[in-house]
Subunit: 480 residues, 2 copies
């Protein structure tokens, strides 16, 4: 079996593979570059199974490297250039790559916690093929988890293929598609776009960083047919465009990474954005469940359908399957699920034993199998013996017209163990106060779910993937 880039370049050599600030690359050109880079890697002593780390951001070089590692059998480890030096060192220690690039040539790494060695800069003539097996590891993607040690999720070509097939049969896929990648390629939401595109023969439109003006312009002028956003990105793009409708050629906007506030969804729906709210996670190679094309948009986060080939179940803490309509942990099964965490057999066993991925996310399945995501199991607040899921409270508060963003977490409480606390970003100029929001929340929520503490903040801590970092909410003590 040939690596995807070679199959694709043979099939449609002249189709656009990549459009970026550096210009466009056709598939034949991308394949040639990937082959040259693969030769460089081989000459540097990279052998199948070696990790190759890239601290590159959304650079066309990372797209070349994605395919070059497939040609050599090496495992790509994309790391964000926004990682702090100690964090970067921790990730490199964990992945122990043999090669590393930061954009200025290649380095062979020495002992795993240092970054040094001879540079291997000269591209070499392309060589043929190389080993390519679907079960081989394509990449190690570090989870955008909100705390703890970095955990590397191993993703195989089989995972990427199954995800791309599921997406094709859920959203559609055309060789004429142009998929906007402004999500970081170091996250699965960005990286998966590369696999889908080479398989479908379509183009990746790569933005080096997220800039709402550039994204808005690309949507109007660049023939984008699909885009992947986190809600915060969509909010900023709408800020720029107001009610201007996107062109009809934009047929799908995947919205994932975090729950989307209802007013944001409503604003986007008014401007006829073809939104497809999505639940996914790195361990399942991005998409797990997505609103089907043509289904009415729902603002409660519900109605998501698993990708074809993906199975869902909701389980309680003892792994008993829960009935439709009841909340529990979302479990996922299928060919998109990771074979495990990099060198963490215990974590792999805990999350993957028995063939089901325990996501740590909470959700409900309808009687007819549609998923609504409720929140993170880990974020659960226990107040006076009652369980409160922050995402449920956030969803209610986000429906208030004065609330631009909100995070909810638990604070230690001498009486109740924990108490529910809210960090609120108001819309500019809004004078809304805690008492008003609390009255509003009381109309929507059971009493123990209503926040007892309120703090107004200019912004919430979110990671590069747009995910709310609830544990960092506590870094400032809210007013009581």
């Amino acid at each position: 079996m040939k690596a995807w880039i070679l199959e694709r370049a043979a099939r449609t050599p002249d189709a656009i593979a990549l459009a970026s600030g550096d210009g466009t690359l056709r598939y034949a050109e991308l394949a040639a570059r990937a082959q040259a880079l693969a030769a460089t890697l081989r000459d540097a002593g990279i052998v199948p199974g070696d990790r190759v780390a890239a601290v590159l951001g959304n650079n066309p070089a990372l797209v070349e490297l994605f395919h070059a590692t497939a040609l050599t059998g090496a495992i790509l480890v994309p790391l964000s250039p926004r990682l702090s030096p100690p964090d970067l060192a921790r990730h490199l220690r964990d992945a122990s790559p043999k090669g590393l690039t930061t954009g200025s040539g290649w380095k062979l790494t020495g002992p795993p916690d240092t970054v040094s060695g001879r540079a291997v800069d000269e591209p070499r003539p392309a060589r043929d093929g190389g080993p390519f097996e679907l079960e081989a590891a394509a990449a190690i993607v570090y989870t955008s988890g909100t705390s703890g040690e970095p955990k590397g999720v191993v993703l195989s070509y089989r995972n990427l293929l199954a995800s791309a097939v599921g997406a094709a049969f859920h959203l559609g896929a055309l060789p004429t598609d142009r998929w906007l990648a402004c999500l970081p390629l170091g996250h699965i939401g960005g990286l998966a776009i590369l696999a889908r595109s080479v398989l479908a023969g379509s183009a990746v439109v790569l933005h080096e960083r997220f800039d709402p003006i550039a994204v808005s312009r690309a949507i109007d002028r660049d023939g984008i047919t699909i885009a992947s956003f986190v809600p915060a990105m969509l909010a900023q793009v709408l800020e720029v465009r107001g009610t201007t409708q996107p062109p009809a050629t934009l047929r799908a906007v995947l919205l994932g990474g975090a729950p989307a506030p209802a007013p944001l969804l409503e604003r986007a729906a008014k401007a006829r954005w073809p939104l497809l709210p999505t639940y996914g996670l790195t361990e399942a190679c991005s998409q797990v469940a997505t609103l089907p094309v043509g289904a009415p948009l729902r603002t409660d986060g519900g109605g998501l359908r698993p990708l074809p080939g993906v199975e869902l179940r909701i389980a309680d803490d003892d792994e008993r399957v829960r009935q439709p309509g009841t909340t529990g942990e979302i479990h996922v099964r299928g060919a998109t699920v990771t074979p495990g965490y990099w060198q963490r057999p215990e974590a792999s066993r805990q999350r993957l034993a028995g063939g089901w991925l325990r996501t740590g996310d909470l959700g409900v399945l309808d009687a007819d199998g549609a998923l609504r995501v409720v929140g993170r199991a880990d974020d659960c607040i226990i107040t006076g013996g009652e369980n409160v899921h922050p995402a449920e409270v956030e969803t209610v508060l986000l429906a208030h017209p004065d609330v631009a963003d909100v995070g909810v977490a638990g604070l230690a409480d001498p009486v109740y163990g924990e108490r529910v606390a809210a960090w609120v970003v108001r819309h500019p100029g809004s004078p809304v106060d805690a008492a008003t929001l609390e009255r509003f929340a009381r109309t929507q929520l059971t009493h123990y779910k209503v926040p007892r503490s309120w703090q107004f903040v200019p912004a919430l801590p979110r990671n590069a993937g747009g995910k709310l970092q609830r544990r960092k909410l506590g870094d400032e003590t809210p007013a009581t």
Copy 2:
């Protein structure tokens, strides 16, 4: 795992599944009908692995049955209503179905060569699920081979899925697609449309019989995005429409089943038909190699690219792999390849040993892996010790402006063993004679390939799939 129709109906219940002379069915409706029919089958004693034969033609009931058999684990055996009674009996004897429908209710069959038993007409309430395994046999499709006993090709759900995935990544697939099925559903070219559509969530536009006027009208008014034709169908549709261009919504026309005459391709290209010449066979679940979308149309039958996931090689009679540029037998490997022939272990071994399907077709691979089909190995004429492939001679003659259709075969010859003979259909009114055609052929072909016998006929023997039946050419002796 759930049967595809249930997954699909849950995902997009309101999407159109089927449009036919009987009106339209949405996925929820098609699923309900399939479930009711599955209950009927179960009540009639049909169990997983049983064959269920349908002598229905392109009837919506066959689409329901395709899904109902998936729900029960039964194996669909679609048979053409155009089979002669003795041929039908032979097919039924071979498949030994437990159930049979001819359009007027259900019958349980008695001894395999008779058709009788109690009718099971009452639809029952739908039941849930049923076993569904990708490796299970979905259908037995009898090959449209031009001679010999009927051979049933077993096709699994895995074959159908791999074929649909390959098509999606080659042609594209959208939930808004509408695929025109005017090929017989009893042939793989028709049946594969059902699998692709339920997987992609798109619509099948089913024509009960091929009528060029109805097809032309459907293309203009019915939002057809993809169509599957054999060359003879395309010729008739062009006859009806002349140079009228199809609407831009028609994005692909798969043209397979037989080599396409160059003048036909040229005429269609002038009217901007988005033609994708295709090589396929039942044993590989329809498409094997297709001209890529966007590639320039070639009239020599070359430039075909294997579907993603499909591997090709060219071998000589001793199964040694031949070099690029040399003719040999086309071998196919991949998840689209049949597990074997129904109850013919010897034929299965001969054609499938070692993991490669020996197609019996002759072809050439370019240096860069593109396929050109040359003809049938079985049809090879040996004249004076030289091998002549009829399709090569036909391709040359079809390029003559006065030739509408042509078949070439060998006739016994006392001197040369065989001699090359041609049966020619002239364009209406054309006065072209054998001497003229022979002179023309001499300009294009090595001398021993030039036909020595010429016969002008009103039409050629083709089977329902459009395939030339070369052995039947000999039923009338041509003039020498």
